[in-house]
């Protein structure tokens, strides 16, 4: 019974990682950039939600404002920091991404100050009892909302025209441009969607763990990155799979090994994946990218 309960705990953490990992993977798929500022977009999203929630807005407005705000922020970051470097060596873009991450973190430090803010409880908490299991309503909401957005994204990418454009640009930007696809706006859209998902992760994280702080994006961001690599970076289902695996590994490491070792084990996965199967679990030689 404890095992199943731990499985559920892992599911909650995992779904947050999965949602954040999606943004990493989509951006990588389309511009071959590891966007290290992604964790900070998540943090900003959490702050947007915090501001909206403290202003007393209803829950749907909190989600909407936070996700829209972050989408705009993501597009702005792309336009200002990454677009000018699109033809530069990849390492330059990577360094810019790290700089962007530090910039956003310090910006939050200046605006919101260092002390953590307490997120209002926008989700009512009713523990649900199923036999011996007790599941908090926040766990259920986290899981349901993330899975719903993942399904929505999968549908969007596979079945709609803009989704098709994304896949085309990801496969071959020049060819896609020749076919009449506007690569710039497609890339902008990818950043917007990825950032909105990061904000979703940020809200769920903030609500579940009650606090928002300028440094909150760092660790979940890194773990989501590992999740994306684990599943195969650039592959959307891979990010989801990687996120859930990370959640389970972290929870079980804490439960059956030691809390002190949990992070070491989680990041150890990155080393193992890179040395054994650098393309990740779902990675193939001919990849179907975003």
């Amino acid at each position: 019974m404890v095992f199943i309960q731990q499985l559920i705990n892992g599911l909650q953490v995992g779904s947050i990682y999965a949602v954040i990992a999606l943004g990493y993977t989509m951006v990588y798929g389309i511009v071959k950039l590891i966007n290290f500022a992604h964790g900070e977009v998540m943090m900003m999203g959490a702050y947007f939600a915090f501001l909206a929630a403290t202003a007393g807005m209803p829950i749907w407005a909190v989600f909407l404002i936070s996700m829209l705000g972050s989408a705009v922020l993501g597009m702005a970051i792309e336009r200002v920091a990454y677009k000018p470097l699109r033809d530069a060596p990849r390492i330059s873009a990577l360094i810019t991404a790290i700089a962007m991450s530090l910039f956003l973190q310090n910006l939050a430090l200046v605006i919101f100050k260092a002390d953590p803010k307490v997120m209002p409880r926008i989700v009512p908490n009713i523990p649900i009892t199923v036999g011996d299991l007790r599941i908090s309503s926040i766990t259920v909401i986290t899981f349901v909302v993330s899975v719903a957005f993942m399904a929505l994204l999968t549908f969007f990418v596979n079945k709609t025209k803009p989704g098709k454009a994304m896949r085309a640009v990801s496969e071959d930007k020049e060819a896609a441009t020749l076919m009449g696809i506007n690569a710039n706006s497609t890339i902008s859209m990818t950043f917007a969607i990825g950032s909105a998902l990061a904000a979703l992760g940020g809200i769920l994280y903030g609500v579940a763990y009650t606090q928002v702080a300028p440094t909150m994006g760092l660790l979940p961001g890194l773990k989501a990155f590992v999740a994306a690599v684990l599943g195969g970076i650039g592959i959307i289902p891979g990010a989801m799979l990687g996120g859930f695996i990370m959640g389970f590994v972290e929870t079980f490491a804490k439960a059956y090994i030691s809390g002190r070792w949990a992070d070491a084990i989680v990041f150890g996965i990155l080393i193992v994946v890179l040395s054994v199967k650098p393309t990740g679990i779902l990675g193939k030689n001919v990849r179907e990218k975003v």
Partner: protein, 385 residues
């Protein structure tokens, strides 16, 4: 080689003579006229990230001095207080100490506020035989082999023992789960001391789980705790982590009562609902009906327009203890004040202060507080043997 050795010895002698001279100079001026004010110093971080700690102490010391002077000072002599901001920095603390000794010529010091800065000036204070009373530095090292340094607050093993005694005697706990921060010496030390009492009594510690500072998800540990079903949960950490843990305890529907430590002070500001009905031990209770406590709270709130915290209460008490010691000593000579401090017994806001041979407060009252409707409710006051 020889030359270098010689010049080294010379240099040490020169430095030593400067110190001796300075110390003598201090003694002479202060021992002088009977109508001269008695100068005492206070220091702590009043700016920077932990400014709240230093400000609480400095403000309370100033308030106490004002009250003492209004009541005629020490045998007719007024107290003059010199306060400096150390920003919590060790180097800054040393230069502050030197300025207090050489420039302001204080006869005694209340400080430091945090352990680091107090340890930084420890050797200097021993060398100068400067009477120093730290209200709040909790590191054990502060008073070890330091005959001139005293401490007004209780130590962590003491409060952990009090929390454990309360859990066993009043809450009648037969088993406990301990969830602590394994990255933090404060939290880990408290967990160990608390566990020791349970082990000694032959009671059960069902879970002893460490987490790291970065952890925000405690559901794994709480699942294990729920499965073990202890009578109480002990959470030795600061209020922001405690708030997060308490929230998840409520989310998961755990019904155990939680017991905490002085780091919990202020948890009710953001997490009143989650910590409702929990207990923690503290230096004083704001709702203690004792007039000493209520008068202090009223005076502090009037002067600074905010409620005092435990650090402020300790700074306030330390000032009265020091004033009493100077009065008992009958002079401003360092050794006389130190001797007077060693034998003092003073009843203040945070309980009765008396010192053991080490210079630590001993057998101090510890307040058990219940959190009710976002307020501190005094349950009982304990003295642990």
């Amino acid at each position: 080689m020889k030359k270098r050795l010689l010049s080294g010895v010379l240099a040490i002698m020169l430095i030593a003579s400067v110190f001796t001279f300075a110390a003598c100079g201090g003694g002479d001026t202060n021992g002088g006229e009977d109508s001269d004010p008695i100068k005492i110093g206070v220091f702590g971080p009043t700016s920077g990230p932990i400014a709240a700690y230093g400000s609480a102490v400095v403000n309370s010391v100033k308030l106490a001095v004002e009250e003492i002077n209004a009541n005629g000072g020490i045998d007719g002599r007024m107290i003059e207080v010199y306060d400096y901001d150390t920003k919590g920095d060790r180097a800054e603390a040393i230069s502050t100490y030197n300025r207090l000794r050489d420039q302001d010529e204080v006869v005694a010091i209340i400080g430091g506020t945090i352990s680091g800065e107090t340890l930084a000036v420890k050797e200097l204070a021993i060398e100068d035989n400067m009477p120093m009373l730290t209200p709040t530095a909790t590191a054990a090292d502060v008073t070890i082999d330091a005959p001139s340094i005293f401490r007004a607050c209780f130590l962590d093993p003491y409060q952990a023992a009090a929390a454990a005694r309360f859990s066993i005697d009043t809450l009648e706990a037969q088993s406990v789960a301990i969830l602590y921060n394994s990255d933090d010496a404060y939290s880990e030390g408290l967990a160990e001391s608390y566990k020791a009492v349970f082990d000694e009594e032959g009671l059960t510690v069902t879970n002893y789980i460490g987490y790291t500072t970065n952890d925000v998800d405690f559901s794994t540990a709480l699942t294990q705790i729920r499965n073990a079903d202890p009578d109480v949960i002990f959470l030795p950490d600061y209020y922001d982590s405690v708030g997060q843990i308490a929230t998840q305890i409520r989310d998961m529907g755990l019904e155990q009562v939680c017991v905490g430590v002085d780091g919990w002070d202020s948890v009710e500001i953001d997490y009143a609902e989650q910590v409702e009905g929990y207990y923690f031990v503290n230096h004083f209770a704001k709702t203690d009906p004792d007039p000493t406590v209520q008068d202090f709270i009223a005076a502090f709130s009037e002067k600074y327009d905010q409620e005092p915290n435990a650090l402020g209460a300790l700074g306030y008490d330390a000032t009265f203890v020091m004033a009493e010691a100077i009065k008992n000593a009958g002079s401003t000579d360092g050794q006389a004040i130190i001797d007077a401090l060693a034998s003092i017994e003073y009843k203040g806001v945070t309980g009765t202060i008396r010192f053991d041979e080490q210079g630590d407060a001993t057998q101090k009252d510890i307040a058990i507080i219940k959190l009710v409707d976002g307020k501190h409710e005094l349950v009982e006051k304990l003295v642990v043997e």
